[in-house]
C-alpha cells in the first residue's frame, strides 16, 4: 500500500511536467497549429531556468525567463508555418533540433554548477490530512504541482466558457468563418503558439528546478516532449483528459524505475535487476505508446472521430475555398 502511494505521489509530480507541456500543445493545436518542437522548447526551458537560477539564485525568475525564451523559440515555428505557410510537421521537427542544439551549447558546464535554490515544496494544511488522497496529492509536493491542479481546470474553462476561448475553437475548426467575422486568424495563431511555447518552457523549468533538479544535457527532458505531443491526441484536445493522461504517464515513469530496484520480484529473481540492459526496454514503453497514439491519430477518419480541430495542420490563406 505504502509503495503504491509513493508511486502515485511521484506520478503526480512527474506528470506535472507532462501536464504543462500538453496543455501548451493543446492551446496551439486548438488554434490549428501543430508544434512538434515541444521537446526542443522544453529542453531550452529547462536549461534557461537552471542557468538563470544559478546566476540570480531566484528560481521564480528562472521559470519566467524559461517561459519567455521558449515562447520566443516557438515564434520561429509560428513565422514559418503561419506567415510562410510551410509544412507544420517539418518545421516542428526542425524546431526540436534547433532547441536541442542551442540548449546543449549554452548549457555546457551547467551540470557542474552545484546546488541551486529550487522551487519550494509544500504540504497543504487540512487537505494533506485526508487519508491516502491527501498523501498522494497534497503532501510534500512542489508548488508547481499545485499550480498544475489549478491550471488544467482554468484552461478547460477558458476554452469552453469564455469569449476568447470560443474564438480559439473557431479559429482551429473553421478559420474562414472566424475571418469573415473580423477575428484576426494570424494574430490568434501566433499568440497561441507563443502560449504553447511558454508552457513548454515552464514544463522544462519544472524538471530542472523542481521534479528532477539539475542539468543532464538532453537527458534532462529525455523525450518527454514527444510524450506530451502524443498525450494531446490521447486527451482528445481536452485539458481535463490531459491532466488524467499526464498523471498516468508520470506514474508509469516511476513504476519503470521502481521495478528495476528489488532483487526479487513476485518470488522470482528480478530480471531487470540482474540484466540492466533490460531496463532500457522498460523505459521504451511510454515512447512506444506515444508512437501508437500518433499512428492512430494520424489516420484522417480517426482524427475526425476523436474531435481533432478540423483546420489542424492547414495554413490559413484568405480567399481560398473550404478551410
Amino acid at each position: 500500500m505504502e509503495a503504491i502511494i509513493v508511486i502515485l505521489q511521484a506520478g503526480i509530480a512527474n506528470g506535472t511536467v507532462l501536464l504543462f507541456a500538453t496543455l501548451g500543445e493543446i492551446f496551439a493545436e486548438r488554434s490549428g497549429v501543430m508544434n512538434l518542437g515541444v521537446e526542443g522548447m522544453m529542453l531550452l526551458g529547462a536549461m534557461s531556468a537552471y542557468s538563470v537560477t544559478i546566476a540570480t539564485g531566484n528560481p521564480w525568475l528562472g521559470l519566467l525567463v524559461a517561459m519567455l525564451v521558449s515562447g520566443l523559440l516557438s515564434q520561429i515555428h509560428a513565422y514559418i508555418t503561419i506567415t510562410l505557410k510551410a509544412d507544420q510537421v517539418v518545421s516542428g521537427l526542425a524546431l526540436t533540433f534547433l532547441g536541442t542544439g542551442i540548449s546543449l551549447v549554452l548549457g555546457e558546464g551547467l551540470s557542474k554548477a552545484g546546488a541551486v535554490s529550487l522551487v519550494p515544496v509544500y504540504s497543504v494544511p487540512l487537505l494533506s490530512a485526508i487519508p491516502i488522497l491527501g498523501k498522494i496529492f497534497f503532501t510534500d509536493q512542489s508548488v508547481l504541482v499545485y499550480f498544475g491542479f489549478i491550471l488544467a481546470p482554468l484552461a478547460w474553462f477558458y476554452i469552453n466558457r469564455t469569449r476568447p476561448g470560443m474564438h480559439l475553437r473557431a479559429v482551429g475548426e473553421y478559420p474562414s468563418a472566424a475571418d469573415a467575422l473580423g477575428i484576426n486568424i494570424f494574430a490568434m495563431r501566433y499568440a497561441y503558439v507563443f502560449l504553447g511555447g511558454m508552457l513548454a518552457g515552464l514544463a522544462g523549468g519544472t524538471i530542472s528546478l523542481a521534479i528532477s533538479p539539475g542539468w543532464f544535457s538532453e537527458m534532462t527532458t529525455g523525450g518527454q516532449g514527444w510524450i506530451a505531443v502524443g498525450l494531446v491526441i490521447f486527451a482528445q484536445w481536452d485539458p481535463f483528459k490531459a491532466m488524467f493522461g499526464a498523471y498516468i504517464f508520470g506514474a508509469l515513469n516511476r513504476v519503470i524505475l521502481d521495478i528495476q530496484l528489488p532483487k526479487v520480484i513476485l518470488g522470482i529473481a528480478n530480471p531487470f535487476f540482474y540484466h540492466t540492459y533490460l531496463g532500457f526496454f522498460l523505459q521504451m514503453i511510454p515512447y512506444a505508446f506515444t508512437i501508437l497514439v500518433l499512428v492512430i491519430g494520424s489516420h484522417e477518419a480517426n482524427r475526425k472521430r476523436m474531435g481533432a480541430p478540423a483546420a489542424l495542420g492547414i495554413p490559413y490563406v484568405r480567399g481560398e475555398r473550404g478551410l
Partner: protein, 528 residues
C-alpha cells in the same frame, strides 16, 4: 429614416456602387460596374459564372478592395478594409459556402467575433434573445443546436440570423438556393419577403433565371465584368430576355430529347450499404436500376450519400453490404480498373482532384484510360505520336478551346476541363456513364454542351446515371429519377417525353426532405 446624399438631397438608395473596377491577374473581373440598391427591395444580381457577380459583392462586403470606383452607403462614401467594416456599415453577406463552425452551437456562431459578451459566455441569456429575433422573420432554428446537427436550410437561417443580429440592413445572398431542396427554397423566399417588408434590402446573387423572376423586384445583369442591364424592374422582363442579356446570344432552355426504347438492364444496384470518410453510414439501403438507352437521375440534397454511391459503383469505395451488377457481373469491391475494363466511365464531381491530373497536359489526361492499349502504347512504351493525334482529334470533335494539347489542364476553364473529361470518358464507348454534378459551376453555354453530349450517349445506347442537385436538369434529361435521402431510396418518378408537373416537383421535394414516396399525400399536405 430618410437617406440623403452628400449634398443633403434625399436619395432612394441605401447602397450605390459607382464605376467599380477590379482586376485579378489576367482577368478584368469588374469593368466600371454601376450598381444601386433601394431600401426594402429584393435586387437580383444575375450573371454567368465568372461574370463578376461575386467579385462585386465581395467588394461590397469588404472581402476585396476595388481598384477603382467608389461606394456610397446611405449617401456616405465608405471605404471597407475588412468584412468587419462592412458589417458595421450595415452590410452583411451570406456566402454560398456557409461560414459556420460545425462543432459550435447556433448561439456561439452568432456571437462569434462580437464585443459582447466580453469574457464569460453565459449562453442561456443569448439563446432566448436569438430565438426571439429569429421568430420575427420566420427564421426558426434551435439556438442550442450544434451546427453539424442542422440541415443545410437551417444552417442558412443561422447565417442570415448572424447578419441580422449584427444589425445588417443590407443582406447579400450569394447563390442561396444552390444547396436547398424545393420546399426549402419556398421557405427561404418567404423569409426574404418578410425581411424586405421589414425594411431590409436584399441582394440576391444568382444564375438561375426562374428564381430571379420569382423573387426579385429589380434585376441587374452582368456579363464578363460589365453591366448589360441596370436596375430593370423584374415584373416586365422575360426569362428569354434575361438569358440573352446574361449570355449575349439566344439560349435554348430545354435540351430536346429524342425517343429511345430502353434496352436490357445495364446497372442493377441492390440494397447498397457503405460508410463515409468519417466511418458513419452514408448509404443505408439504396437500390436502383438503369437500362441501356436510359438516363436515370439521382436527386437529393448534397451529402445524402450521392458521392459515396458514385464511388462504390466506380470502385473507389468499398461497400459494406448489397450488390452492384454491371451487365450481370458483380463489380462492387473491386479495384477501379475492374469496372473501367467492363465499360464504366466516370464524370466525377471534383474535376481538378479526381477528374484530371492538373499539372499534366491535355494529351496525358485524355489517354489516361487508354494508354494500356494499342495504338497509344506498344508493350510498355507510349507512342507519343498516336497519343497526340488522339488528343488533337478529340480537341476538334469536342471543341476544347486550348492553344495546343501540350497545355497543362490546370490552365483550362471549368467548361473546357469538363470537355476534356467528357472526351476521355465518352471516347471509350462506355456501357455505363456515372456523371456526378456534370454541369456544376459551368456557364449556360457549356451546360448546353454537356447536356447534348449526355443525350447523344443515351441515343447511342449507354446507360447513364446522372447525380445532380439541379432539379431542372434532372427533369429535362432523365427518363426516371430516384430520390436519395440519408442513403436510402425514397422513391422513383418516371418522366415521359420531358413532361413534368408541379405535383412531380412537390413529390421530389418531399422525398428529398425525407418522406418516402408511398407516404406522400399531397392532398393532405395543402392544409398543413
Amino acid at each position: 429614416m430618410e437617406i440623403t446624399d452628400h449634398t443633403g438631397a434625399p436619395t432612394p438608395y441605401i447602397v450605390e456602387m459607382r464605376s467599380i473596377t477590379k482586376r485579378f491577374p489576367g482577368v478584368l473581373a469588374n469593368d466600371h460596374v454601376d450598381f444601386e440598391l433601394k431600401r426594402g427591395e429584393i435586387h437580383a444580381l444575375l450573371g454567368e459564372n465568372g461574370a463578376g457577380k461575386s467579385t462585386l459583392m465581395n467588394i461590397l462586403a469588404g472581402l476585396y478592395h476595388q481598384d477603382g470606383g467608389s461606394i456610397l452607403v446611405k449617401g456616405q462614401s465608405v471605404n471597407f478594409s475588412s468584412p468587419r467594416d462592412a458589417i458595421k456599415a450595415g452590410i452583411g453577406m451570406v456566402h454560398q459556402h456557409f461560414m459556420l463552425v460545425p462543432s459550435q452551437t447556433v448561439t456561439e456562431n452568432i456571437l462569434l467575433g462580437l464585443e459582447n459578451p466580453r469574457f464569460l459566455m453565459r449562453l442561456n441569456q443569448y439563446d432566448s434573445k436569438i430565438a426571439a429575433l429569429g421568430e420575427r422573420f420566420g427564421l426558426i432554428v434551435d439556438p442550442k443546436a450544434k451546427i453539424w446537427q442542422l440541415s443545410v436550410g437551417e444552417q442558412q437561417r443561422v447565417e442570415i440570423l448572424k447578419m441580422i443580429y449584427r444589425g445588417a440592413e443590407v443582406l447579400i445572398m450569394d447563390e442561396p438556393t444552390a444547396v436547398l431542396a424545393p420546399q426549402e427554397i419556398d421557405g427561404l423566399f418567404k423569409i426574404l419577403r418578410a425581411m424586405a417588408a421589414d425594411g431590409k434590402s436584399i441582394i440576391f446573387i444568382s444564375h438561375k433565371l426562374q428564381e430571379v423572376t420569382a423573387i426579385s423586384d429589380t434585376v441587374t445583369v452582368l456579363r464578363r465584368g460589365k453591366v448589360t442591364a441596370r436596375s430593370l424592374p423584374a415584373l416586365n422582363v422575360t426569362r428569354q430576355e434575361l438569358a440573352k442579356l446574361m449570355v449575349g446570344r439566344d439560349v435554348s432552355f430545354t435540351a430536346v430529347k429524342a425517343f429511345k426504347e430502353p434496352g436490357k438492364v445495364v446497372l442493377d444496384i441492390k440494397n447498397l450499404k457503405t460508410d463515409n470518410d468519417k466511418g458513419l453510414a452514408a448509404l443505408r439501403d439504396f437500390s436502383l436500376d438503369i437500362r441501356s438507352g436510359e438516363i436515370v437521375g439521382v436527386a437529393g440534397v448534397a451529402g445524402n450519400g450521392q458521392r459515396e454511391l458514385a464511388q462504390v459503383i466506380t470502385g473507389l469505395r468499398r461497400c459494406t453490404g448489397g450488390q452492384v451488377f454491371l451487365n450481370g457481373t458483380k463489380v462492387e469491391n473491386h479495384e477501379p480498373i475492374f469496372g473501367i475494363d467492363r465499360g464504366i466511365s466516370y464524370i466525377p464531381e471534383d474535376r481538378t482532384q479526381v477528374g484530371t491530373a492538373p499539372n499534366l497536359s491535355v494529351t496525358d489526361n485524355i489517354i489516361m484510360k487508354r494508354y494500356r492499349f494499342t495504338p497509344i502504347s506498344k508493350g510498355s512504351v507510349i507512342n507519343i505520336k498516336a497519343a497526340t493525334k488522339m488528343a488533337n482529334d478529340l480537341k476538334i470533335s469536342y471543341e476544347i478551346s486550348v492553344p495546343n494539347v501540350e497545355t497543362p489542364v490546370r490552365l483550362l476553364s471549368g467548361g473546357n476541363l469538363q470537355k476534356v473529361i467528357l472526351a476521355r470518358e465518352i471516347s471509350g464507348k462506355p456501357s455505363l456513364m456515372v456523371a456526378v454534378q456534370p454541369t456544376r459551376g459551368l456557364d449556360v453555354g457549356a451546360i448546353e454542351g454537356v447536356h447534348r453530349l449526355l443525350l447523344e450517349q443515351r441515343q447511342a445506347g449507354a446507360a447513364i446515371l446522372l447525380i445532380s442537385e439541379e432539379l431542372e436538369e434532372l427533369l429535362s434529361l432523365c427518363d426516371r429519377v430516384f430520390v436519395i435521402y440519408e442513403g436510402c431510396t425514397m422513391g422513383e418518378i418516371k418522366i415521359h417525353n420531358q413532361e413534368t408537373s408541379q405535383k412531380m416537383i412537390e413529390q421530389i421535394g418531399m422525398m428529398m426532405t425525407g418522406t418516402p414516396l408511398d407516404q406522400i399525400d399531397l392532398g393532405a399536405e395543402e392544409h398543413v
